[in-house]
């Protein structure tokens, strides 16, 4: 790939602008669906974009006593992490533009970078709400990260590869893995909601207790960058789950519909469930999530051994 093509792919398509805009559209779909489930009208399609533009034009206030490097740097790192992850993921039904052996693990860790940055941002804050929010973000990270990783490892093991491209190709050529590994799909879907801190896993930013959690002190640009980062993460993670469990990449239109089905499922769960306390979240993941995911991996290993 020539440097110009690489630059274009990072700045405009599939990463960069396209990714950010599609992230906003997915976010809109999510918000609109939740609103309709809750018998509200919900936002118009350009609302996430309008929110972002508004935030970007607002004054950014840095509270006293905070380390400037961390305060201004963390949102950028978080967004960079999410955008980098997108280079290896099958965004919008197009084959990933880069790939190397083991890119699955790197992508997952790039996605976790967001939570790490949010946690550190709260840790750096002087507000008590930020501090409690940060503690909760980290606690929750330890809860869902392992099961989510295991849930994506299932298809990778079935495909005998650590490369996202190969796993998607394998998924395309075989039965949909939602049928062969249903437990993994459920865990991946719920893990995704935990990763994105969506209800019922929104204890780290439970507004009725700790205002906005780790991001309480953020305003203007910093907050906008975190928001963009989150919607990018939504696209990347939904694309990964779709490619792995719902029959690979296939054609882009079909892929888009499949990702929207996942968004619909997530919106349904968000509207149906009550926020879990942080101890309940951790309990849920380690008592059921992690064990079920491990069980599925075990069955997979045994089956593979037996078939071979």
């Amino acid at each position: 790939m020539t440097p110009l093509a690489a630059l274009l792919s990072i700045m405009f398509f599939p990463a960069g602008i396209t990714l950010i805009l599609s992230g906003m559209l997915y976010e809109w779909a999510d918000r609109k669906l939740v609103a309709r489930f809750q018998n509200r009208i919900g936002p118009r399609w350009f609302q996430p974009l309008a929110d972002t533009i508004k935030l970007l034009t607002k004054e950014e206030i840095k509270p006293q006593g905070l380390k400037s490097l961390l305060f201004y740097g963390l949102p950028i790192v978080a967004l960079t992490g999410a955008l980098t992850a997108a280079l290896y993921a099958p965004i919008l039904g197009f084959s990933p533009i880069y790939s190397f052996p083991g890119d699955l693990i790197v992508t997952l860790y790039m996605l976790s970078l967001m939570t790490m940055c949010i946690g550190l941002a709260g840790w750096n804050g002087s507000s008590r709400f930020s501090l409690i929010g940060a503690t909760r973000s980290f606690t929750q990270l330890f809860a869902y990260e392992a099961p989510f990783l295991l849930a994506l490892l299932g298809p990778a093991m079935a495909a005998n590869s650590w490369v996202i491209k190969d796993v998607s190709a394998y998924a395309e050529g075989h039965y949909w893995m939602i049928l062969t590994q249903p437990v993994g799909f459920v865990i991946a879907l719920i893990g995704l909601m935990g990763k994105l801190e969506l209800p019922p896993f929104d204890a780290p930013e439970a507004e009725t207790e700790i205002v906005a959690g780790a991001l309480t002190e953020y305003s203007g640009r910093g907050l906008a960058l975190f928001h963009i980062g989150k919607s990018v993460e939504l696209v990347v993670a939904v694309s990964l789950v779709t490619a792995f469990y719902l029959g690979g990449i296939g054609n882009p239109l079909l892929f888009l519909i499949k990702t929207l089905v996942i968004v619909l499922l997530m919106a349904l769960l968000q509207a149906m469930l009550t926020r879990l306390r942080i101890d309940q979240t951790v309990g849920l993941w380690w008592r059921y999530g992690a064990l079920l995911a491990l069980l599925q991996i075990l069955i997979l290993i045994l089956l593979k051994g037996w078939l071979a």
Partner: protein, 555 residues
């Protein structure tokens, strides 16, 4: 026990301390005691489990009498016993604290101290509850000779911030916080996620209404009191008019009383549905919040149809009601209730079967019957712990004798029980409203009412959606009241929340606060201190000028 035997029993219990006793009304007993006897007298009543402390009224009898009066009202059933204590006005009047015997007294004692300048000896927290932090020391707003300029002339209190000493990690909630729909300030010391201590401060919406009533006539007060609370506005007008009507000895037409009860019922439905939404939101279940508020619109529209207003219905007037309920209204009431009953049953089902929601309510904020009694809780919070206390039954007022309601209690005492009690109460209320509409008595809806009310004092109690509202009204024979004491249910329930919060997780705190359905404006009923040097307070025209200067004239 009948009211007479109850009063007789109270008389016997208090006989050792009584310096004089009389029965101003058939359901009331006034006992004069010395300040030093107060704790023993209170113990005597409490040990015999005679009633609960409803309110403490502090009164300034004026410079001529040169005395202050503190009235401790105890209620049991329909009977009200008042301990009357005279205190010197000059020097520093002192009164012993009774918060050892009655924990709920602490809030009343704080109010008595800051408003009238009575030193309550031994009260656990003598800091201010309602008055602003910079209110000058030694100026007491409820004294008769208090003038607004006085507060402005004296230097503000510059005592450093009152707070906890030591290295505690304190989570402040409020005065501005998403969990609170109205301003209040709470400090929770936490260890990790577990609460280890709780304190609170009120008064952010204190409007000095009690003081303001003294400068307005009886009719004007009706409109002022209606604005104490935006949720139970009818409660306040009906409690006030009921008391004033009693003082004026005016018979209110049956039909008017029936209409008052009907509106009170509709108000209860609107209040409980509002609460359901808020409580669900605090727990992070926004779908229930949205649904219940959508359904609440039905009752709001109905109230608008009946009275012309959605919030401050303004249907009560002294001596009756303003609007009649006709046949066309009864059709729409029945129709609205059909829908509401179906929805309320559904919400009851959700609150008792949704496993996710139950994780946040079952076993949370557990309060036993003994605790509920000791903390002096009222209303649905008390009834969810099994306390059978409801003014509508204990002392039926207005039309409640004619259209009685049945009491709903639950003995589990947790958040779930509070949901169940409120939802079942709504079903009972719907039933009562239907009975009233179908059996409306004939006759007029209003009688003539005098401008001047004969001298005297009375107690008026009504059951608000949150519990008992207690009014003490004293007339000096003129066109405006000499003293009007308002005690709203929310303030009685705080003690239980602050005590029960300890040991819970921080995540449960919003639920606990919401569980008692707090109403801050009821509690606070703002005081602004205007000084020349103070650049923070502005009049409307100053604010306007400031805005024009800052942003430039309109182009």
């Amino acid at each position: 026990m009948t009211t007479e035997t109850l009063l007789q029993r109270a008389g016997e219990l208090l006989a050792p301390f009584a310096k004089g006793a009389n029965n101003p009304e058939t359901n009331r007993l006034d006992v004069q005691i010395a300040a030093s006897d107060l704790p023993t007298a209170a113990s005597a009543l409490m040990n015999a489990s005679w009633g609960y402390l409803a309110a403490i009224t502090g009164m300034d009898l004026g410079t001529e009498a040169n005395e202050l009066e503190a009235l401790y009202h105890f209620c049991e059933g329909a009977a009200v016993t008042t301990l009357r204590i005279h205190l010197p006005r000059e020097g520093c009047p002192e009164i012993p604290s009774i918060s050892d015997q009655i924990p709920a007294a602490s809030f009343f004692e704080r109010e008595l101290g800051e408003m009238l300048g009575v030193t309550v000896v031994g009260t656990p927290d003598p800091t201010r509850l309602f008055l602003p932090d910079d209110w000058p020391v030694g100026i007491y707003p409820m004294r008769q000779d208090f003038k607004q300029e006085q507060a402005a002339a004296v230097e503000p209190d510059k005592t450093p911030e009152r707070g906890w000493a030591g290295n505690k990690f304190i989570v402040p909630i409020g005065p501005q916080h998403p969990a609170l729909k109205e301003p209040g300030h709470f400090e929770f010391s936490v260890d990790g996620e577990i609460i280890t201590g709780a304190r609170m401060r009120l008064g952010y919406v204190h409007r000095g209404i009690e003081k303001a009533t003294e400068a307005r006539n009886w009719i004007q007060n009706l409109y002022l009191l209606e604005r104490i609370c935006g949720i139970c506005s009818h409660t306040h007008t009906s409690a006030y008019s009921q008391g004033v009507e009693k003082l004026a000895q005016v018979e209110v037409p049956e039909r008017a009383l029936a209409i008052r009860e009907l509106v009170a019922g509709l108000e209860r439905i609107h209040s409980h549905l509002l609460w359901l939404g808020v409580a669900a939101h605090e727990a992070g279940f926004d779908t229930l919040f949205m649904y219940s508020w959508r359904d609440r619109e039905t009752v709001m529209n109905l109230l608008e149809e009946l009275t012309g207003n959605r919030v401050n219905y303004s249907i009560c007037v002294l001596g009756g009601v303003k609007h009649d309920i006709g046949a066309q209204h009864s059709v729409s009431i029945h129709k609205a209730l059909d829908y509401l009953e179906e929805r309320i049953r559904y919400y009851l089902d959700v609150a008792t079967t949704d496993s996710g929601f139950l994780q946040r309510t079952r076993g949370i904020g557990m309060m036993s019957l003994e605790e509920a009694k000791r903390f002096g809780t009222l209303g649905p919070v008390a009834r969810a712990s099994g306390v059978k206390r409801d003014v509508r039954l204990d002392a039926p007022y207005g039309a409640y004798k004619r259209y009685p309601v049945s009491i709903i209690t639950d003995d589990r005492g947790d958040m779930e029980a509070r949901f169940v009690v409120r939802m079942k109460e709504l079903l009972v209320t719907c039933f009562t409203i239907r009975t009233i509409v179908d059996n409306m008595p004939g006759g007029g809806i209003v009688t003539r009412f005098p401008r001047k009310i004969p001298a005297g004092e009375t107690v008026s109690r009504v059951e608000a959606p949150r519990g008992e509202a207690f009014y003490y009204i004293k007339s000096g024979g003129g066109e405006s009241p000499t003293r009007l004491k308002i005690r709203t249910p929310s303030i009685c329930n705080w003690t239980s929340v602050l005590n029960k919060a300890v040991g819970h997780q921080l995540a449960d705190v919003p639920m606990l606060i919401a569980g008692m359905d707090p109403c801050f404006s009821c509690n606070d009923r703002m005081v602004t201190v205007r000084r020349k040097s103070d650049s923070n307070t502005m009049t409307w025209s100053e604010l306007r000028e400031y805005g024009i200067k800052k942003y430039g004239p309109r182009k």
